[in-house]
Amino acid sequence: MGIRAIFLNNPKVAELLRTRFVCYALDNVVNPQMTGAEKEWLKDRGGRACTGGTSVFTAGGQVLPHGANWDPSGPNLFAKHQDAMIRGLNAALSKYHPEKAPQINKPDPKQLAEVVRRPFAGGLALFATYTVLEWKEPLNLDEQWRHSLNRVYEKAIPACPGVDRVWTRKEEAGALAAGTFPEKLKQRLALHVAYGMGGKSKVKAVDLTLRAGRLTGSFLLEDGERADVLGFIESKDGKIRRFEVIVKGIGTGGCPCGGLGPLHVLPKGKKAPVAIAFMLADPQTNLGRVPPHSARDLDRPVLKGNH
């Protein structure tokens, strides 16, 4: 979350990356989506990072230093971090010389099929995004979690929604297209609602009604909070063409790590309005192919069934 919010979401950094680099994103812990041979190749090129990090290298494997390990300080920390990244990327570009014919071994298809998860054929890929609304009090991040990047987080993270994915099976997509909201899908959305509201309180009741393409109702959490729902689900020729569902409730701060996005900046125990969206992604695109993460332990069979 930190890398995306602080660097990748900066328009200048994003434009430099979009135009001058091939950009590759890796979850090196839960869903690496790579074979043993690919892991081995990557390990000395940034693949051994235990938390967040960035690396620049060529197709053939030459690492290009870009000064990712910085320690700026002072009142302009936010700008300094982003400027440092731009300087580092330009430094890497200045050292780049394309290789004539880099050796790139194709991964074993059988191994690849075992480790790479893909959205269900005929199913839907949805983005689940989270944000905190109307938070105006001082954040005092240092009181709960001392970190050199806190000053940076305070500005960058509220502007960058947390994001995860929800995948549906073909049968679930078909049911939605026919006007029925599948119960199991309601439960999977409920996992994200509970997580997005702070993760301490589970959803104890789901009350959703889909009628004429309009979804209304609520998720009731164990702590008594109710998260309201308004959404639009439309289909054409048996295919879902629109899936836009917004959930709004009260979230509680408390976890300074993970994918909650803006909930990072809510001091522990403090409450604020939180909005969560579920919106259609294209399962054929790389953004749509990133596997669901936050619900992984609670709904593992759904992912395993995709192999």
Binding site: C23, Y24, Q33, E99, D207, V229
Partner: protein
């Protein structure tokens, strides 16, 4: 004066109770989220409006290397304990 007010208002509340109950029937329930609020929140939460989502990301190392060789560009890798394009 107060008793006169009560005598007018209390019967009105009692009379409107069936209508309130009807309004909350499951098949008639409405969301507390307005359409205007829906539109505002959708814009805030749509990742298409985020600069990082406009980068053509690769999620396969080998495909990234092949593309880098073909387009003669270096590879920028973002790594996390969770995908940087998602939870990480």
């Amino acid at each position: 004066m107060l008793s006169k007010w009560k005598s007018l208002v209390v019967p009105m509340i009692i009379a409107s109770a069936p209508a309130l109950a009807l309004a909350q029937r499951p098949d008639q329930k409405s969301s507390r989220l307005s359409l205007a609020e829906f539109k505002e929140l959708k814009a805030k939460l749509d990742i298409k409006n985020q600069p990082w989502a406009r980068i053509p990301w690769q999620v396969s190392l080998t495909e990234a290397r092949e593309l880098a060789a073909k387009t003669k560009k270096p590879i920028f890798m973002a790594v996390g304990t969770g995908n940087p394009l998602g939870w990480g």
